[in-house]
């Protein structure tokens, strides 16, 4: 079968399998074995089948589009892709809302990554969540009233949500238009809400779930603005070109978003779409018309509106930069959604709190689904971003990586350290993307997925064994949990970017992080005035990464047990949990390697194939800030640049590692001394840069104040009215009651008493004696005759 038909079907099947599993568990979950224990099998089977289908699709794709073909000559061409629609939901003017697909190498890689990681997490969860198989006596988090809760196990519900989560993420990746992306974007949000709040009896968990949801709403608001700008300016939501049937029946190709922003006619360079130019001209002209300035301007404006579609005029307007603002707004809006989803700096506060969910959920959110969605969308929408937008992305990414890395230094909760490390790594990705390193950023997304899911699952194993999240009460666990310790060590090495400089030997993080640093370096070369900041921040962040990751490892596994009780009860996890760990450990180590004997096939070359058209040579020529230029990616791979970056990265990682060893491994220095030396800094970091306090002060408190005012108005005004009317009605009711009792009741009572008395009199007539009745009958008859004889003669008988 044709690949253009087969691939969408295969991927749709892989996409819908988790949905089927979800539906099955929704309807039959509690009946799947005792306490729904087979729900895990259903969900795991579905996701593993999806994984197999994804890899099969990837293999099929490679037969048609071998890697490397697009590497050299066609670097400027549109990457190979398959797009189309399965079903049209409706058409509103030029806007078509469809369920469609856009499949390229990035989609396929995401599919494989998501399903693979999710499969591991499913298998792992089957072991991790076994406590939910029976009634749970929740001693972990008492309710608000301080009561402990005994509740039914929710094993099957967990897998139900996991399946929905995977379905949503796959749908987001597969989506062929932005509207569909948005739908699944929200679905991912709601799934994360459900899973973070899985133990919703705990106050902290339900708060965290609410926080995640609400913070994401802020980002999604921006995204809706971006969507509106896209709709207004381009008239379509579709990524790729799509077929339209015209009124006369002919089928023509209509340009999608990518083709409009970077048309082939313009050599895939960024160009303001016609629609945006027109809408800018239109709004400018209508401003003039409404303002009624002077006759000449009005005439010009009217002429402009008449000439809206004239090609020559369009060219003029475009060169004047009309409509560029709309393009920037579209980019910024979309990125705003990604800020919320991918936990970038102003909106990162939900992610550390999301640790309240079960650990496999954290792994899923941090590695494969939720936060990856934001970075994925930035990567997918990359052609639309102007240099200014990219600069904003870079700045936010840089701030995120720095802030999160510093906070991770002071955290003692093992999952919180990992959470901040995730935020920091996401900052790395955004930084790379913002500085023009599309490949570096996306590569880091994948490698990070592998090692971060590994790290989370390891931490889950540790928590499972120790029953606590606090690292200060762990220590020395490597003797009890060798597999977990080893796999976690691999994860730490991978995230620190361990590798041998100047060669291609290293853990997966080595490739991605080094290419990010290299991109920073080349950006510095291109923009000497402000590039340094990014470079040093990234370098510093990389060093901190190594430091806090090894701090975590040393505190958990090395040294001597700090809490004998915890140590005594610790044990290696069952094989259903350790096998996924080992699989992920292998992936974290070799995930970025090229597969031998395949001519350079690997993650990097696959992503290279999916690189959007026209960005290989960098992005420049912003109208508002024309001085900055994102350098071409191949510049970063120039030998001199790359070597410099590799050594720098290696150096800071080594310094971080050594410092961690000195402080926590060998205990030559006491970290408490450092804390005492900088108490304010420590407190500042320990309280997470006061973000929560800031939001509480700026947003929550004013909101509460306003609520208080509104409540006061309610109480004083509306409640007064309501109370007054209630009191008035009460008074009326009292009067009515009095009237009832005095008049109506009395009348009724009197009538009743009379009736009763009459009845009592009359009952004496009823003697119950039949003969007496007969006698009365006779008497009555006689009386009747006598009476009749007065009024009626017998004359008729004559």
């Amino acid at each position: 079968m044709d690949l253009n038909v087969l691939l969408p079907r295969l991927l749709a099947l892989a996409w819908l399998l988790p949905l089927c599993s979800f539906a099955l568990i929704v309807f039959f979950g509690p009946r799947m074995g005792r306490a729904g224990r087979y729900a895990a099998h259903v969900a795991t089977t579905a996701i593993i089948a999806a994984c197999v289908l994804s890899f099969a699709s990837l293999g099929l794709w490679l037969t048609q589009h071998p890697v490397g073909a697009a590497h050299g000559a066609h670097a400027a061409a549109v990457p190979p892709h398959i797009n189309g629609d399965w079903y049209s939901l409706g058409e509103f003017g030029s806007l078509r809302v469809t369920i469609g697909y856009y499949i390229d190498a990035l989609t396929l890689c995401m599919f494989c990554m998501v399903t693979l990681v999710a499969s591991c997490i499913h298998v792992y969860s089957a072991g991790y969540m076994h406590g939910e198989l029976h009634d749970v006596f929740d001693t972990f988090g008492p309710t608000e009233e301080g009561r402990m809760i005994r509740r039914r196990g929710r094993y099957y519900r967990f897998f139900q949500c996991l399946s929905l989560f995977c379905f949503s993420m796959l749908g987001l990746v597969l989506a062929g238009n932005v509207a569909m992306v948005f739908v699944f974007w929200e679905l991912v949000g709601i799934c994360s809400y459900l899973l973070i709040g899985f133990w919703h009896e705990r106050k902290s968990a339900s708060n965290a779930a609410n926080k995640a949801f609400i913070v994401n709403r802020v980002g999604d608001f921006g995204m809706i603005v971006g969507l509106m700008a896209v709709w207004t300016g381009m008239g379509t939501f579709s990524f790729g070109d799509y077929k339209v049937t015209k009124a006369d029946g002919t089928v023509a190709m209509a340009p999608g978003i990518f083709s409009q922003v970077r048309p082939a006619a313009n050599e895939h360079k960024l160009q303001i779409p016609d629609g945006m130019v027109k809408s800018a001209v239109g709004s400018q002209a209508s401003n003039v018309l409404v303002g009624k300035s002077d006759a000449k301007a009005v005439a010009v404006a009217a002429q402009d509106i008449r000439d809206l579609s004239a090609p020559q005029k369009l060219k003029d307007w475009r060169s004047q930069g009309l409509g560029y603002g709309l393009l920037v707004i579209a980019g910024l809006g979309i990125f705003c959604g990604c800020v919320g989803k991918s936990a970038q700096v102003p909106l990162h506060v939900w992610l550390p709190d999301a640790m309240e969910g079960p650990t496999p959920v954290s792994a899923l959110i941090h590695a494969a689904t939720m936060v990856a969605a934001g970075v994925y969308l930035v990567g997918r929408f990359y052609p639309v971003f102007t240099p200014e937008v990219l600069m904003v992305i870079a700045c936010i990414g840089c701030a995120t990586l720095f802030i999160a890395a510093t906070v991770a230094l002071t955290a003692t909760d093992i999952k919180r350290v990992l959470a901040y490390s995730t935020v920091s790594q996401l900052g790395f990705m955004m930084l790379a993307l913002g500085l023009g390193g599309w490949l570096a950023g996306m590569l880091h997304l994948f490698t990070h997925a592998f090692f971060k899911s590994l790290l989370f699952l390891c931490s889950g194993s540790v928590i499972h064994a120790c029953g606590t999240n606090e690292m200060p009460s762990m220590g020395g666990l490597r003797r009890k949990m060798p597999i977990t310790a080893m796999t976690m060590l691999i994860g730490c090495l991978a995230i620190a970017g361990a590798g041998i400089p100047a060669t291609v030997i290293g853990f997966s993080g080595f490739y991605s992080k080094d290419s990010i640093i290299a991109q920073d370096l080349s950006f510095w070369a291109a923009n000497p005035r402000l590039g340094g900041w990014f470079f040093y921040a990234a370098l510093f962040g990389a060093g901190l990464t190594a430091f806090y990751m090894f701090r975590l490892w040393y505190m958990t596994f090395a040294g001597n047990p700090r809490d004998g009780h915890v140590y005594y009860h610790a044990h290696e996890s069952p094989s259903s949990m350790t096998v996924p760990l080992m699989i992920l450990a292998v992936l974290a180590a070799v995930g970025a390697w090229n597969i031998p004997f395949t001519g350079g096939l690997g993650l990097q070359s696959l992503l290279q194939q999916a690189q959007p058209a026209g960005i290989a040579d960098g992005v420049s020529g912003g109208l508002y800030w024309s001085s900055i230029a994102m350098p071409a990616q191949h510049l970063a791979h120039e030998h001199a640049n790359a070597i410099k970056a590799e050594w720098a990265a290696f150096g800071v990682a080594l310094v971080g590692f050594l410092l961690a060893t000195v402080f926590y491994g060998l205990r030559k220095l006491d970290p408490a001394d450092v804390t005492r030396a900088f108490p304010r800094l420590y407190r500042f970091l320990f309280r997470k840069w006061m973000f929560d306090e800031l939001y509480s002060y700026c947003l929550v408190r004013p909101m509460l104040k306003i609520s208080d005012w509104v409540a006061a108005v309610d109480r004083r005004g509306i409640d007064w009215l309501v109370d007054g009317s209630a009191r008035a009605i009460e008074g009326i009711a009292r009067v009515d009651d009095w009237f009832d009792r005095i008049f109506i009741d009395r009348a009724v009572n009197v009538a009743a008493r009379w009736t009763y008395a009459l009845g009592m009199r009359l009952r004496t007539i009823e003697t119950g004696n039949v003969r007496q009745y007969v006698l009365w009958l006779v008497v009555a008859t006689v009386g009747l005759f006598v009476l009749m004889s007065f009024f009626w003669s017998y004359a008729i008988a004559g």
Partner: protein, 220 residues
């Protein structure tokens, strides 16, 4: 003073028997005697029916009343009055009241009988001759005994009205088919109901009443 009208003589005889037996029913206190007097009274009434020329009705009266009804009554007497023949007397005061009321009723009735119809003199049967007149008009059925017109009347044919010219009047005076049907269904229902009512109800009967033992006695 004409010849003695035997019809009148028999009328007075039958009337005397009927009234006397009726009064005897009232007076006697023994239930079995009452039943005997009642039989006599009813038989005399049947005789009166014969006298007025309603032979069929008289026969029915004899069979149904004197036969059926009295058999039923005696059944009842034997079923209920197991003990010695009991008499349940009532006080003199009650007698007085009852007699006064009955006397008043009798007065009213007699006054009505004489006051209204007293002047009407009967015709001798032979003089009436209505059936013969009808027979002369070619109606053979009317000539037969009285049960044939009755039977025809019950199935809806009024032979005495056949000559009625006005078909509207004739329709309105048609026979008694519908009442006949109603009464027959009614009779069935009543008999089934009576059987149901009179069935033996063990629950109501104390244990010691069964097995040949007599009830301890029915008091006065």
């Amino acid at each position: 003073m004409g010849p003695i009208n035997w019809q009148t003589c028999f009328f007075f005889l039958m009337a005397a028997i009927a009234c006397g037996a009726a009064i005897a029913v009232v007076i006697s206190s023994n239930i079995v005697r009452m039943a005997c007097w009642l039989v006599l009274s009813l038989a005399a009434v049947a005789g009166l029916f014969f006298l007025t020329g309603a032979e069929f009705l008289g026969a029915v009266q004899l069979m149904v009343y004197v036969g059926g009804t009295m058999v039923l009554l005696i059944f009842g007497v034997m079923l209920t009055a197991r003990g010695p023949f009991v008499s349940m007397k009532i006080g003199a005061a009650q007698w007085v009241v009852a007699v006064i009321a009955a006397g008043a009723l009798l007065t009213v009735l007699l006054q009505a009988a004489f006051g209204t119809f007293g002047q009407t003199q009967g015709k001798p049967i032979a003089a009436a001759g209505s059936s013969r007149e009808l027979a002369a008009s070619g109606n053979d059925v009317a000539d037969a005994a009285s049960y044939s017109p009755l039977g025809l009347g019950l199935i809806g044919v009024r032979i005495d009205r056949l000559a009625e010219r006005d078909h509207v009047l004739r329709g309105g005076m048609s026979g008694y088919l519908l009442p006949f049907e109603i009464i027959s269904v009614h009779l069935v229902v009543v008999l089934v109901g009576a059987a149901y009512l009179a069935r033996a109800r063990r629950r109501m009967v104390p244990r010691h009443w069964r097995g040949g033992e007599q009830p301890s006695g029915v008091e006065d």
